[in-house]
Symmetry: C2
Subunit: 130 residues, 2 copies
DNA sequence: TAACAGAGTGTTATAATATAACATTTAATA
DNA sequence: TATTAAATGTTATATTATAACACTCTGTTA
């Protein structure tokens, strides 16, 4: 289990924005939102994002180049992540399903690869958009 | 089942390069490789890539912004894709495992989302790099 | 056959996403 | 207090991707 982490000023600012957001946020939209706090350059955002990902506080949605807060306790530093993504409203929901996660984690590739981590993205229509 | 498709000139050129490659290719590296054939602009590459993806001839590896040829017959127009990605040598291998695919496809999200498609990316070390 | 529709092409420009490099500051610790 | 590690600020640039528009080619269909 990862221990509680102290966040730096910039990391905290970025995390706050992502946690408050209803959906995934893009790096440059975060940047735009924090310019009033004295953060002016993409580097500052990307550095904070990198650390937050390392700590498991946020996840990157690869298919959207966007970032969401981690809402799950059992993805333990993002070794096993799964998301449902609505193709209509862009909503992203973290899937926290122990059985699914366990099944995938225990999947053994024929070619003898040893997995450290996986990321699964589902696409479809959410309940509202359906 | 998707029927055999006739490819346009640019689509064929791009597909040939991707099929011949040992690993995933980036759009701009494809561009560089086809300039001798008279393709000069990113648009031409991206348009071909889009169509090839639609046809299920290639897949995009989202975490790498790179493209690989489809080696599987059962991902039927990319409704269910899975890849193993070596974090050391960058190799990507398409996973074609009916059981895994079936299990994931039949996963039902509590929130009532209806899935059309999924993409799964495993990360680790391949046999060689291990 | 003329005209039209659809897919594809070529081209220029620009938007959006991400990193390199370097100087400085702050925090934690020997 | 000297030393280190982590974080910051800044400028510049690399990488990935799309917009917009004019043109071509091919197969309908009126």
């Amino acid at each position: 289990m990862a221990q509680a982490q102290i966040l730096s000023r910039n990391q905290q600012i970025v995390l706050d924005i992502i946690e408050k957001a209803k959906g995934p946020l893009k790096a440059y939209s975060i940047l735009f939102n924090v310019q009033k706090k004295g953060i002016n350059a993409p580097q500052q955002i990307y550095r904070a994002l990198d650390k937050l990902i390392e700590m498991g506080k946020i996840h990157k949605i690869e298919s959207k180049n966007a970032f969401v807060a981690c809402r799950s306790s059992d993805c333990e530093i993002s070794k096993a992540t799964a998301f449902s993504i609505c193709e209509s409203c862009e909503m992203v929901d973290e899937i926290s399903d122990a059985k699914l996660s366990k099944y995938i984690s225990s999947f053994n590739h024929k070619k003898g690869m040893k997995f450290k981590r996986f990321n699964l993205e589902f696409f479809g229509l959410c309940k509202k958009c359906k």
